[in-house]
Protein backbone atom coordinates (compact mmCIF):
# COMPACT_ATOMS: atom_id res chain seq x y z
CA UNK A 1 0.00 0.00 0.00
CA UNK A 2 1.02 3.59 -0.50
CA UNK A 3 2.50 4.58 2.81
CA UNK A 4 5.11 7.10 1.70
CA UNK A 5 4.25 10.49 3.10
CA UNK A 6 5.46 12.26 -0.04
CA UNK A 7 3.21 10.30 -2.35
CA UNK A 8 0.30 10.67 0.02
CA UNK A 9 0.61 14.41 0.10
CA UNK A 10 0.73 14.57 -3.69
CA UNK A 11 -2.36 12.38 -3.83
CA UNK A 12 -3.96 14.74 -1.40
CA UNK A 13 -3.42 17.67 -3.70
CA UNK A 14 -4.73 15.78 -6.71
CA UNK A 15 -7.65 14.64 -4.65
CA UNK A 16 -8.35 18.21 -3.69
CA UNK A 17 -8.62 19.08 -7.36
CA UNK A 18 -10.88 16.15 -7.98
CA UNK A 19 -13.17 17.19 -5.17
CA UNK A 20 -13.26 20.71 -6.49
CA UNK A 21 -15.10 19.48 -9.58
CA UNK A 22 -17.15 16.52 -8.41
CA UNK A 23 -17.67 16.24 -4.68
CA UNK A 24 -19.63 13.17 -3.64
CA UNK A 25 -21.71 13.70 -0.58
CA UNK A 26 -22.62 11.16 2.06
CA UNK A 27 -25.38 11.95 4.47
CA UNK A 28 -25.08 10.72 8.05
CA UNK A 29 -28.01 10.90 10.43
CA UNK A 30 -26.62 11.10 13.96
CA UNK A 31 -29.96 11.28 15.74
CA UNK A 32 -31.86 13.90 13.81
CA UNK A 33 -35.59 14.49 13.86
CA UNK A 34 -35.72 13.89 10.07
CA UNK A 35 -36.30 17.55 9.38
CA UNK A 36 -32.74 18.12 8.21
CA UNK A 37 -32.65 14.74 6.49
CA UNK A 38 -35.59 15.42 4.22
CA UNK A 39 -34.15 18.83 3.43
CA UNK A 40 -30.76 17.34 2.56
CA UNK A 41 -32.60 14.78 0.45
CA UNK A 42 -34.62 17.55 -1.19
CA UNK A 43 -31.40 19.49 -1.82
CA UNK A 44 -30.03 16.54 -3.80
CA UNK A 45 -33.03 16.18 -6.13
CA UNK A 46 -33.65 17.86 -9.53
CA UNK A 47 -35.69 20.78 -8.23
CA UNK A 48 -32.54 22.27 -6.69
CA UNK A 49 -30.24 20.40 -9.06
CA UNK A 50 -26.90 20.19 -7.23
CA UNK A 51 -25.43 18.16 -10.08
CA UNK A 52 -24.63 21.42 -11.83
CA UNK A 53 -21.93 21.70 -9.15
CA UNK A 54 -20.98 18.05 -9.63
CA UNK A 55 -22.53 17.11 -6.30
CA UNK A 56 -23.82 13.56 -6.13
CA UNK A 57 -25.13 11.42 -3.31
CA UNK A 58 -22.71 8.65 -2.39
CA UNK A 59 -24.16 5.53 -0.79
CA UNK A 60 -20.97 4.49 0.95
CA UNK A 61 -18.43 6.29 3.15
CA UNK A 62 -15.65 4.82 1.01
CA UNK A 63 -16.97 6.69 -2.03
CA UNK A 64 -17.59 9.96 -0.26
CA UNK A 65 -15.67 13.20 -0.18
CA UNK A 66 -18.00 15.23 1.99
CA UNK A 67 -19.93 13.95 5.01
CA UNK A 68 -23.05 15.90 5.92
CA UNK A 69 -23.86 15.31 9.58
CA UNK A 70 -27.38 16.04 10.76
CA UNK A 71 -28.94 15.75 14.17
CA UNK A 72 -28.12 15.83 17.84
CA UNK A 73 -25.24 13.45 18.33
CA UNK A 74 -26.15 10.70 20.79
CA UNK A 75 -23.62 8.48 22.52
CA UNK A 76 -24.28 5.57 20.24
CA UNK A 77 -24.05 7.56 17.02
CA UNK A 78 -20.89 9.39 18.12
CA UNK A 79 -18.93 6.15 17.99
CA UNK A 80 -20.26 5.38 14.53
CA UNK A 81 -19.68 8.85 13.18
CA UNK A 82 -16.02 8.52 14.13
CA UNK A 83 -15.83 5.10 12.47
CA UNK A 84 -17.45 6.37 9.28
CA UNK A 85 -15.10 9.33 9.24
CA UNK A 86 -12.11 7.01 9.52
CA UNK A 87 -13.43 4.89 6.66
CA UNK A 88 -13.75 7.87 4.34
CA UNK A 89 -10.64 8.32 2.19
CA UNK A 90 -8.66 11.55 2.50
CA UNK A 91 -9.09 14.34 1.61
CA UNK A 92 -12.43 14.52 3.37
CA UNK A 93 -14.62 17.29 4.69
CA UNK A 94 -17.48 17.49 7.15
CA UNK A 95 -20.51 19.76 7.03
CA UNK A 96 -22.54 20.09 10.23
CA UNK A 97 -26.09 20.68 9.07
CA UNK A 98 -28.75 22.13 11.34
CA UNK A 99 -28.94 23.54 14.84
CA UNK A 100 -28.73 20.11 16.51
CA UNK A 101 -25.47 19.08 14.83
CA UNK A 102 -23.96 22.48 15.62
CA UNK A 103 -24.97 22.85 19.26
CA UNK A 104 -27.47 20.18 20.31
CA UNK A 105 -30.44 22.40 19.52
CA UNK A 106 -33.58 21.85 21.55
CA UNK A 107 -32.16 18.55 22.80
CA UNK A 108 -29.10 19.97 24.54
CA UNK A 109 -28.94 18.78 28.13
CA UNK A 110 -30.71 15.50 27.48
CA UNK A 111 -29.14 12.38 29.00
CA UNK A 112 -28.38 10.23 25.95
CA UNK A 113 -26.72 13.09 24.08
CA UNK A 114 -22.99 12.96 23.61
CA UNK A 115 -22.07 16.42 22.50
CA UNK A 116 -21.81 18.48 19.35
CA UNK A 117 -20.65 17.05 16.04
CA UNK A 118 -17.36 18.96 16.14
CA UNK A 119 -16.33 17.23 19.37
CA UNK A 120 -16.02 13.95 17.45
CA UNK A 121 -14.88 14.93 13.97
CA UNK A 122 -13.39 18.16 12.61
CA UNK A 123 -16.13 20.22 11.03
CA UNK A 124 -15.35 22.47 8.07
CA UNK A 125 -18.66 24.20 7.41
CA UNK A 126 -21.61 24.89 9.71
CA UNK A 127 -25.03 25.33 8.12
CA UNK A 128 -27.42 26.76 10.71
CA UNK A 129 -31.19 26.49 10.70
CA UNK A 130 -33.92 24.29 12.08
CA UNK A 131 -33.88 22.83 9.51
CA UNK A 132 -31.72 24.70 6.98
CA UNK A 133 -33.39 25.24 3.64
CA UNK A 134 -32.11 23.16 0.70
CA UNK A 135 -30.64 26.36 -0.74
CA UNK A 136 -28.66 26.82 2.46
CA UNK A 137 -27.32 23.26 2.25
CA UNK A 138 -26.17 23.85 -1.33
CA UNK A 139 -24.68 27.19 -0.31
CA UNK A 140 -22.74 25.42 2.44
CA UNK A 141 -21.36 22.91 -0.05
CA UNK A 142 -20.44 25.74 -2.43
CA UNK A 143 -18.63 27.60 0.35
CA UNK A 144 -16.64 24.48 1.12
CA UNK A 145 -15.75 23.99 -2.54
CA UNK A 146 -14.59 27.59 -2.82
CA UNK A 147 -12.31 27.06 0.16
CA UNK A 148 -10.96 23.83 -1.28
CA UNK A 149 -10.31 25.72 -4.51
CA UNK A 150 -8.16 28.26 -2.68
CA UNK A 151 -5.91 25.55 -1.29
CA UNK A 152 -5.87 22.72 -3.78
CA UNK A 153 -7.77 23.43 -6.94
CA UNK A 154 -7.42 26.22 -9.40
Amino acid sequence: MLKLPGILSTLGLEGMKAIRYSPWVMHFNAGACNGCDIEVLAALTPFFDPERLGVKLAPNPRHADIIIVTGALNKKAAERLRRLYDQTPSPKFVIACGACAISGGVFSGSYPLFSRADSVVPVDVYVPGCPPRPEAVIYGIKKLLDRVGEHGGD
Binding site: N34, G35, E39, A42, K76, A77, F107
Partner: protein
Amino acid sequence: MVIVEIPIGPQHPALHEPIMLKVRTEGEEVVEVSVNTGYNHRGIEKLLEKNSWVRGMYISGRVCGICNAVHMQTYVQGVEKLMGVEPPPRANYIRTLVMELERIHSHMLVAAVMAEIIGFDTLFMLLMRDRERVMYLKELVTGNRVHADIHMLGGVKRDLDEVRRDRILSELKIVEERIKYYMKVFEEDYTIMKRLSEVGVIRKSEALRLSIVGPTLRASGIKSDVRSDDPYAAYSEIPFNVVSRDEGDSWARMMVRFGEALESVSIARYTVEKLPQGPAIPKTIPRATKPGEVISRVEAPRGELLYHIVSVGGANPYRVKIRTPSFLNILNTEKVYIGHRLADVPVIFASYDPCISCTERVMVIDEKSGKKTYVSMRDLARVRVG
Protein backbone atom coordinates in the same frame (compact mmCIF):
# COMPACT_ATOMS: atom_id res chain seq x y z
CA MET B 1 -27.35 -25.06 4.70
CA VAL B 2 -25.37 -22.39 6.44
CA ILE B 3 -27.33 -19.53 7.93
CA VAL B 4 -25.70 -16.23 7.13
CA GLU B 5 -26.49 -13.06 9.00
CA ILE B 6 -26.49 -9.90 6.96
CA PRO B 7 -26.77 -6.56 8.67
CA ILE B 8 -28.75 -4.01 6.67
CA GLY B 9 -27.96 -0.61 8.06
CA PRO B 10 -27.45 1.54 10.10
CA GLN B 11 -25.75 3.29 7.20
CA HIS B 12 -27.18 1.72 4.09
CA PRO B 13 -28.04 3.06 0.64
CA ALA B 14 -31.54 1.63 0.84
CA LEU B 15 -32.33 3.16 4.21
CA HIS B 16 -32.34 6.88 4.70
CA GLU B 17 -32.39 6.68 8.43
CA PRO B 18 -30.25 4.96 11.01
CA ILE B 19 -31.78 1.61 11.84
CA MET B 20 -30.33 -1.84 11.67
CA LEU B 21 -32.12 -4.90 10.40
CA LYS B 22 -30.28 -8.08 11.27
CA VAL B 23 -31.41 -10.44 8.57
CA ARG B 24 -30.56 -14.12 8.90
CA THR B 25 -30.81 -15.91 5.60
CA GLU B 26 -30.59 -19.45 4.39
CA GLY B 27 -29.50 -19.04 0.80
CA GLU B 28 -31.72 -16.30 -0.53
CA GLU B 29 -34.55 -16.97 1.87
CA VAL B 30 -35.02 -14.91 5.00
CA VAL B 31 -35.41 -17.03 8.13
CA GLU B 32 -35.26 -14.37 10.82
CA VAL B 33 -35.20 -10.63 11.08
CA SER B 34 -34.48 -8.70 14.21
CA VAL B 35 -34.79 -4.96 14.30
CA ASN B 36 -31.97 -3.22 16.06
CA THR B 37 -32.47 0.41 16.80
CA GLY B 38 -30.80 2.96 18.98
CA TYR B 39 -28.97 5.35 16.75
CA ASN B 40 -31.49 8.12 17.13
CA HIS B 41 -32.26 8.29 20.85
CA ARG B 42 -32.74 11.75 22.27
CA GLY B 43 -34.47 11.18 25.63
CA ILE B 44 -37.40 13.40 24.78
CA GLU B 45 -39.78 12.11 27.45
CA LYS B 46 -37.36 13.08 30.20
CA LEU B 47 -36.63 16.37 28.46
CA LEU B 48 -40.34 17.23 28.40
CA GLU B 49 -40.56 16.67 32.16
CA LYS B 50 -37.76 19.15 32.70
CA ASN B 51 -39.20 21.92 30.54
CA SER B 52 -42.27 24.11 30.90
CA TRP B 53 -45.58 23.49 29.12
CA VAL B 54 -44.88 26.12 26.45
CA ARG B 55 -41.32 24.97 25.74
CA GLY B 56 -42.57 21.39 25.55
CA MET B 57 -44.57 22.39 22.51
CA TYR B 58 -41.41 22.99 20.49
CA ILE B 59 -39.69 19.86 21.78
CA SER B 60 -42.69 17.72 20.86
CA GLY B 61 -42.64 19.21 17.36
CA ARG B 62 -39.05 18.10 17.04
CA VAL B 63 -39.75 14.45 17.79
CA CYS B 64 -40.13 14.07 14.07
CA GLY B 65 -39.46 16.44 11.24
CA ILE B 66 -41.78 14.81 8.74
CA CYS B 67 -44.85 14.69 10.99
CA ASN B 68 -44.05 17.65 13.24
CA ALA B 69 -47.45 19.37 13.03
CA VAL B 70 -49.32 16.25 14.17
CA HIS B 71 -46.91 15.86 17.09
CA MET B 72 -47.56 19.45 18.08
CA GLN B 73 -51.30 18.99 17.61
CA THR B 74 -51.31 15.96 19.90
CA TYR B 75 -49.34 17.74 22.58
CA VAL B 76 -51.20 21.03 22.29
CA GLN B 77 -54.70 19.54 22.27
CA GLY B 78 -53.83 17.46 25.34
CA VAL B 79 -52.41 20.44 27.22
CA GLU B 80 -55.34 22.62 26.15
CA LYS B 81 -57.69 20.06 27.66
CA LEU B 82 -55.73 20.17 30.93
CA MET B 83 -55.70 23.97 30.88
CA GLY B 84 -59.39 24.23 30.02
CA VAL B 85 -58.69 26.29 26.89
CA GLU B 86 -60.72 25.89 23.72
CA PRO B 87 -59.10 26.97 20.42
CA PRO B 88 -61.28 29.14 18.14
CA PRO B 89 -62.80 27.40 15.07
CA ARG B 90 -60.66 29.35 12.62
CA ALA B 91 -57.50 28.13 14.40
CA ASN B 92 -58.80 24.57 14.23
CA TYR B 93 -59.29 24.85 10.48
CA ILE B 94 -55.80 26.24 9.93
CA ARG B 95 -54.32 23.45 12.06
CA THR B 96 -56.22 20.89 10.01
CA LEU B 97 -54.96 22.44 6.78
CA VAL B 98 -51.33 22.23 7.92
CA MET B 99 -51.73 18.63 9.09
CA GLU B 100 -53.28 17.57 5.79
CA LEU B 101 -50.54 19.25 3.76
CA GLU B 102 -48.10 17.32 5.89
CA ARG B 103 -49.91 14.07 5.16
CA ILE B 104 -49.72 14.73 1.41
CA HIS B 105 -45.99 15.42 1.43
CA SER B 106 -45.28 12.51 3.76
CA HIS B 107 -47.17 10.07 1.54
CA MET B 108 -45.41 11.42 -1.55
CA LEU B 109 -42.07 11.04 0.22
CA VAL B 110 -42.64 7.38 1.08
CA ALA B 111 -43.78 6.70 -2.47
CA ALA B 112 -40.57 8.31 -3.69
CA VAL B 113 -38.44 6.30 -1.27
CA MET B 114 -40.23 3.13 -2.34
CA ALA B 115 -39.57 3.96 -6.01
CA GLU B 116 -35.89 4.45 -5.23
CA ILE B 117 -35.65 1.18 -3.31
CA ILE B 118 -37.09 -0.87 -6.16
CA GLY B 119 -34.65 0.85 -8.50
CA PHE B 120 -37.06 3.17 -10.28
CA ASP B 121 -34.93 6.29 -9.96
CA THR B 122 -36.81 8.39 -12.49
CA LEU B 123 -40.04 8.02 -10.55
CA PHE B 124 -38.18 8.96 -7.37
CA MET B 125 -36.91 12.17 -8.94
CA LEU B 126 -40.32 13.05 -10.40
CA LEU B 127 -42.09 12.45 -7.12
CA MET B 128 -39.54 14.56 -5.26
CA ARG B 129 -39.98 17.34 -7.79
CA ASP B 130 -43.75 17.45 -7.36
CA ARG B 131 -43.43 17.13 -3.62
CA GLU B 132 -41.73 20.53 -3.67
CA ARG B 133 -45.10 22.05 -4.58
CA VAL B 134 -46.53 20.79 -1.32
CA MET B 135 -43.51 22.07 0.57
CA TYR B 136 -44.08 25.44 -1.05
CA LEU B 137 -47.71 25.37 0.09
CA LYS B 138 -46.61 24.52 3.61
CA GLU B 139 -44.22 27.44 3.56
CA LEU B 140 -47.00 29.67 2.28
CA VAL B 141 -49.27 28.77 5.18
CA THR B 142 -46.80 28.45 8.06
CA GLY B 143 -43.69 30.34 6.98
CA ASN B 144 -41.51 27.25 7.28
CA ARG B 145 -40.87 24.41 4.90
CA VAL B 146 -40.43 21.63 7.41
CA HIS B 147 -41.04 22.56 11.03
CA ALA B 148 -44.46 24.19 10.84
CA ASP B 149 -44.48 25.44 14.46
CA ILE B 150 -47.87 26.97 13.77
CA HIS B 151 -49.58 25.69 16.90
CA MET B 152 -49.89 27.82 19.98
CA LEU B 153 -51.72 27.01 23.19
CA GLY B 154 -55.21 28.32 22.45
CA GLY B 155 -54.85 28.96 18.73
CA VAL B 156 -52.31 29.33 15.94
CA LYS B 157 -49.45 31.71 15.36
CA ARG B 158 -50.20 32.80 11.83
CA ASP B 159 -53.46 33.65 10.14
CA LEU B 160 -54.39 33.00 6.53
CA ASP B 161 -55.29 35.89 4.22
CA GLU B 162 -57.27 36.03 0.95
CA VAL B 163 -54.26 36.22 -1.38
CA ARG B 164 -52.64 33.13 0.02
CA ARG B 165 -55.98 31.30 0.01
CA ASP B 166 -56.28 31.67 -3.75
CA ARG B 167 -52.72 30.52 -4.35
CA ILE B 168 -53.25 27.46 -2.18
CA LEU B 169 -56.34 26.50 -4.19
CA SER B 170 -54.59 26.84 -7.55
CA GLU B 171 -51.54 24.86 -6.38
CA LEU B 172 -53.72 22.12 -4.88
CA LYS B 173 -55.28 21.58 -8.28
CA ILE B 174 -51.87 20.75 -9.81
CA VAL B 175 -50.89 18.59 -6.84
CA GLU B 176 -54.10 16.58 -7.16
CA GLU B 177 -53.46 15.91 -10.84
CA ARG B 178 -49.93 14.77 -10.19
CA ILE B 179 -50.97 12.44 -7.34
CA LYS B 180 -53.61 10.88 -9.60
CA TYR B 181 -50.93 10.32 -12.21
CA TYR B 182 -48.52 8.66 -9.77
CA MET B 183 -51.34 6.54 -8.38
CA LYS B 184 -51.94 5.31 -11.90
CA VAL B 185 -48.23 4.53 -12.28
CA PHE B 186 -48.24 2.47 -9.10
CA GLU B 187 -51.43 0.74 -10.17
CA GLU B 188 -50.38 -0.20 -13.68
CA ASP B 189 -46.61 -0.39 -13.88
CA TYR B 190 -45.46 -3.95 -14.44
CA THR B 191 -42.21 -3.66 -12.45
CA ILE B 192 -43.88 -2.08 -9.45
CA MET B 193 -46.60 -4.73 -9.38
CA LYS B 194 -43.98 -7.49 -9.60
CA ARG B 195 -41.98 -6.07 -6.73
CA LEU B 196 -44.80 -5.05 -4.39
CA SER B 197 -47.81 -7.32 -4.73
CA GLU B 198 -47.99 -10.41 -2.50
CA VAL B 199 -44.94 -9.18 -0.62
CA GLY B 200 -45.12 -8.78 3.14
CA VAL B 201 -48.73 -9.81 3.60
CA ILE B 202 -50.44 -9.08 6.92
CA ARG B 203 -53.82 -10.80 7.17
CA LYS B 204 -56.85 -9.14 8.68
CA SER B 205 -57.12 -11.82 11.36
CA GLU B 206 -53.68 -11.12 12.80
CA ALA B 207 -53.52 -7.36 12.21
CA LEU B 208 -55.19 -6.45 15.50
CA ARG B 209 -53.15 -8.89 17.57
CA LEU B 210 -49.96 -7.55 16.04
CA SER B 211 -51.18 -4.07 17.00
CA ILE B 212 -50.19 -2.23 13.87
CA VAL B 213 -51.73 1.15 13.12
CA GLY B 214 -52.46 3.60 10.36
CA PRO B 215 -52.30 2.86 6.62
CA THR B 216 -50.62 -0.46 7.44
CA LEU B 217 -53.70 -1.50 9.44
CA ARG B 218 -56.16 -0.10 6.90
CA ALA B 219 -54.42 -1.97 4.07
CA SER B 220 -55.27 -5.17 5.98
CA GLY B 221 -58.96 -4.41 5.79
CA ILE B 222 -59.67 -2.75 9.14
CA LYS B 223 -61.24 0.67 8.89
CA SER B 224 -59.76 2.40 11.90
CA ASP B 225 -58.91 6.06 11.56
CA VAL B 226 -58.59 8.45 14.48
CA ARG B 227 -59.92 11.30 12.36
CA SER B 228 -63.31 9.62 12.01
CA ASP B 229 -63.41 7.47 15.19
CA ASP B 230 -62.18 10.06 17.65
CA PRO B 231 -62.46 13.44 15.88
CA TYR B 232 -60.15 16.27 16.85
CA ALA B 233 -59.39 19.73 15.43
CA ALA B 234 -61.97 20.39 12.69
CA TYR B 235 -62.43 16.81 11.47
CA SER B 236 -65.91 16.44 12.95
CA GLU B 237 -67.16 19.11 10.51
CA ILE B 238 -65.31 17.96 7.39
CA PRO B 239 -66.64 15.20 5.13
CA PHE B 240 -64.07 12.61 4.04
CA ASN B 241 -63.73 8.89 3.35
CA VAL B 242 -61.58 6.40 5.21
CA VAL B 243 -59.56 4.55 2.57
CA SER B 244 -58.96 0.84 3.13
CA ARG B 245 -58.03 -2.23 1.13
CA ASP B 246 -58.22 -5.96 1.79
CA GLU B 247 -55.03 -7.32 0.20
CA GLY B 248 -52.72 -6.53 3.13
CA ASP B 249 -49.53 -6.57 1.04
CA SER B 250 -46.94 -3.88 0.37
CA TRP B 251 -48.77 -2.74 -2.74
CA ALA B 252 -52.04 -2.30 -0.85
CA ARG B 253 -50.25 -0.12 1.70
CA MET B 254 -48.96 2.15 -1.04
CA MET B 255 -52.39 2.36 -2.67
CA VAL B 256 -54.03 3.22 0.66
CA ARG B 257 -51.54 6.07 0.99
CA PHE B 258 -52.28 7.40 -2.47
CA GLY B 259 -56.01 7.21 -1.80
CA GLU B 260 -55.47 9.05 1.47
CA ALA B 261 -53.35 11.72 -0.18
CA LEU B 262 -56.21 12.42 -2.59
CA GLU B 263 -58.63 12.60 0.35
CA SER B 264 -56.21 14.98 2.04
CA VAL B 265 -56.25 17.26 -0.98
CA SER B 266 -60.02 17.49 -0.78
CA ILE B 267 -59.90 18.07 3.01
CA ALA B 268 -57.32 20.82 2.52
CA ARG B 269 -59.49 22.41 -0.15
CA TYR B 270 -62.52 22.23 2.12
CA THR B 271 -60.68 23.90 5.02
CA VAL B 272 -59.50 26.73 2.78
CA GLU B 273 -62.90 27.29 1.17
CA LYS B 274 -64.96 27.02 4.35
CA LEU B 275 -62.51 28.81 6.66
CA PRO B 276 -64.63 30.32 9.46
CA GLN B 277 -64.37 33.99 10.33
CA GLY B 278 -63.11 35.23 13.67
CA PRO B 279 -59.82 35.40 15.52
CA ALA B 280 -57.21 32.64 15.21
CA ILE B 281 -54.28 34.02 17.18
CA PRO B 282 -54.64 33.95 20.98
CA LYS B 283 -54.04 37.16 22.91
CA THR B 284 -52.64 35.52 26.03
CA ILE B 285 -50.84 32.25 26.57
CA PRO B 286 -51.87 30.18 29.56
CA ARG B 287 -48.93 28.90 31.60
CA ALA B 288 -50.27 26.51 34.25
CA THR B 289 -52.57 23.51 34.25
CA LYS B 290 -54.97 21.84 36.60
CA PRO B 291 -53.92 18.42 37.96
CA GLY B 292 -55.18 15.54 35.88
CA GLU B 293 -54.31 13.28 33.03
CA VAL B 294 -55.28 13.20 29.40
CA ILE B 295 -54.84 10.70 26.59
CA SER B 296 -54.52 12.61 23.37
CA ARG B 297 -54.80 10.79 20.03
CA VAL B 298 -54.17 12.05 16.52
CA GLU B 299 -53.96 10.32 13.14
CA ALA B 300 -50.41 10.96 11.97
CA PRO B 301 -49.44 10.13 8.38
CA ARG B 302 -48.15 6.80 9.71
CA GLY B 303 -51.03 5.97 12.03
CA GLU B 304 -52.34 6.59 15.49
CA LEU B 305 -50.12 8.89 17.52
CA LEU B 306 -50.75 8.89 21.25
CA TYR B 307 -49.60 11.23 24.00
CA HIS B 308 -50.39 10.40 27.61
CA ILE B 309 -49.89 13.62 29.56
CA VAL B 310 -50.02 13.63 33.35
CA SER B 311 -50.09 16.85 35.32
CA VAL B 312 -49.93 17.44 39.07
CA GLY B 313 -50.29 21.19 38.57
CA GLY B 314 -47.41 23.58 38.26
CA ALA B 315 -45.35 24.82 35.36
CA ASN B 316 -43.95 21.49 34.10
CA PRO B 317 -45.59 18.24 32.99
CA TYR B 318 -45.27 15.39 35.49
CA ARG B 319 -45.02 12.70 32.83
CA VAL B 320 -45.44 12.71 29.08
CA LYS B 321 -45.57 9.36 27.37
CA ILE B 322 -45.22 9.44 23.60
CA ARG B 323 -46.22 6.40 21.61
CA THR B 324 -45.57 6.93 17.94
CA PRO B 325 -47.09 4.86 15.12
CA SER B 326 -43.74 3.63 13.81
CA PHE B 327 -42.90 2.23 17.24
CA LEU B 328 -45.66 -0.34 16.81
CA ASN B 329 -45.32 -0.78 13.04
CA ILE B 330 -41.59 -1.50 13.05
CA LEU B 331 -41.23 -3.61 16.18
CA ASN B 332 -44.33 -5.77 15.75
CA THR B 333 -43.81 -6.87 12.18
CA GLU B 334 -40.53 -8.77 12.44
CA LYS B 335 -42.24 -12.03 11.51
CA VAL B 336 -43.67 -10.68 8.25
CA TYR B 337 -40.28 -10.85 6.53
CA ILE B 338 -39.88 -14.59 7.04
CA GLY B 339 -39.99 -16.66 3.85
CA HIS B 340 -39.31 -13.75 1.52
CA ARG B 341 -36.21 -13.15 -0.55
CA LEU B 342 -33.46 -10.94 0.79
CA ALA B 343 -34.19 -8.31 -1.87
CA ASP B 344 -37.74 -7.99 -0.56
CA VAL B 345 -36.64 -6.92 2.93
CA PRO B 346 -36.11 -3.21 2.13
CA VAL B 347 -39.37 -3.19 0.15
CA ILE B 348 -41.38 -4.58 3.05
CA PHE B 349 -39.60 -2.29 5.47
CA ALA B 350 -40.30 0.80 3.38
CA SER B 351 -43.93 -0.19 2.93
CA TYR B 352 -44.51 0.46 6.65
CA ASP B 353 -43.34 4.03 6.04
CA PRO B 354 -40.86 3.71 8.89
CA CYS B 355 -39.99 6.86 10.74
CA ILE B 356 -36.95 6.13 12.82
CA SER B 357 -36.73 9.41 14.63
CA CYS B 358 -40.26 8.81 15.87
CA THR B 359 -39.47 5.32 17.06
CA GLU B 360 -36.20 5.95 18.72
CA ARG B 361 -36.78 8.84 20.97
CA VAL B 362 -36.83 6.22 23.71
CA MET B 363 -34.64 3.51 22.31
CA VAL B 364 -30.98 2.72 22.71
CA ILE B 365 -29.69 -0.75 22.06
CA ASP B 366 -26.35 -2.00 23.19
CA GLU B 367 -24.56 -3.60 20.31
CA LYS B 368 -22.18 -5.53 22.54
CA SER B 369 -24.78 -7.31 24.65
CA GLY B 370 -25.70 -9.72 21.85
CA LYS B 371 -24.46 -13.07 23.14
CA LYS B 372 -24.46 -14.89 19.81
CA THR B 373 -21.45 -14.87 17.55
CA TYR B 374 -22.58 -13.35 14.31
CA VAL B 375 -21.09 -14.38 11.02
CA SER B 376 -21.66 -11.25 9.04
CA MET B 377 -20.11 -10.24 5.77
CA ARG B 378 -19.03 -6.96 7.19
CA ASP B 379 -17.41 -8.43 10.28
CA LEU B 380 -15.56 -10.95 8.20
CA ALA B 381 -14.25 -8.22 5.99
CA ARG B 382 -13.19 -6.03 8.85
CA VAL B 383 -11.13 -7.73 11.52
CA ARG B 384 -11.40 -5.75 14.68
CA VAL B 385 -8.69 -5.76 17.29
CA GLY B 386 -9.70 -6.56 20.85
